[in-house]
Subunit: 115 residues, 3 copies
């Protein structure tokens, strides 16, 4: 059994592979001045990049956890999600409200994918 | 490696199977007029139904994440959970408070099971 | 496929093994009079103990979900986390704010490890 850790930082790794799965850390937008649509798009691009490092793509996502800082932003987040998601390969998902690390952060998404 | 997606909708799938695991999306009650006991019972029935589509049952649940809209409802949620759970096969679980998609939603549960 | 359940209680198991993974239930501190640093340390010690029952250690953690009752405690939680974590084997992680079961609980952590 081999564990591969991508983008290790001081506190956490960006993604970790083991036993046929890839666990992606909670991603937030780089540009926190953007609205929920823009931040969601950035978060999803970051997930794409991490999955790519593990040699897979979004069609392999099994599960996602979405946190929005204001649940009223859920529909706008969903619109950006649907513009990105592979409609033939939609993951199971849970979306709840939570305050995030920075008050300007509107959305954070973590996921698990198959490899 | 085969990925099987149950109950795909426009945004997410109800449950996704891969590599010996089943990931069940966050489930909420159908009848949001019910109290926490009634909503929890409905949520757990929906989980039963999704696990059944994957050919397994609640005895195979490994992990659950429970979100209650008011943490003071935790005991009443637990009572409904214990009435349903297989006492010989209790999953690991985390329960925290979170605002859910609709203000009438009192509980949401997601889980991971073995297949 | 064998499922092994550690520390089963009335509501949940402390950790569950299956298919090469160990799922650890959300852990909270025993001494709720402690501050965020002390509570985080206790939570991490409890995770160490549960992983040990499954025959592994923190170097095998793939994913962690951290809930802090006040997101402003995130840096102090991170300091305790970094003092504990294996810097060569950092998990993917998501940290969000959530009210926990008892108002004195400042942090709860759940994780998934490889076995």
């Amino acid at each position: 059994m081999q564990i591969i850790r991508h983008d290790p930082g001081k506190v956490l790794s960006g993604a970790v592979e083991a036993n046929g799965f890839v666990f992606v850390a909670g991603q937030v937008a780089d540009d926190l001045a953007q609205d929920i649509a823009g931040q969601t798009k950035q978060v999803l691009a970051r997930i794409d990049a991490l999955l790519s490092k593990a040699g897979i793509d979004k069609s392999k996502i099994l599960w996602a956890n979405v946190w929005v800082s204001d649940i009223r932003n859920r529909e706008a987040m969903n619109a950006a999600w649907m513009a990105w998601a592979d409609p033939k390969n939609l993951p199971a998902r849970a979306t709840v409200e939570a305050k995030l690390a920075d008050p300007r952060m509107l959305v954070e998404i973590a996921c698990v994918a198959a490899k």
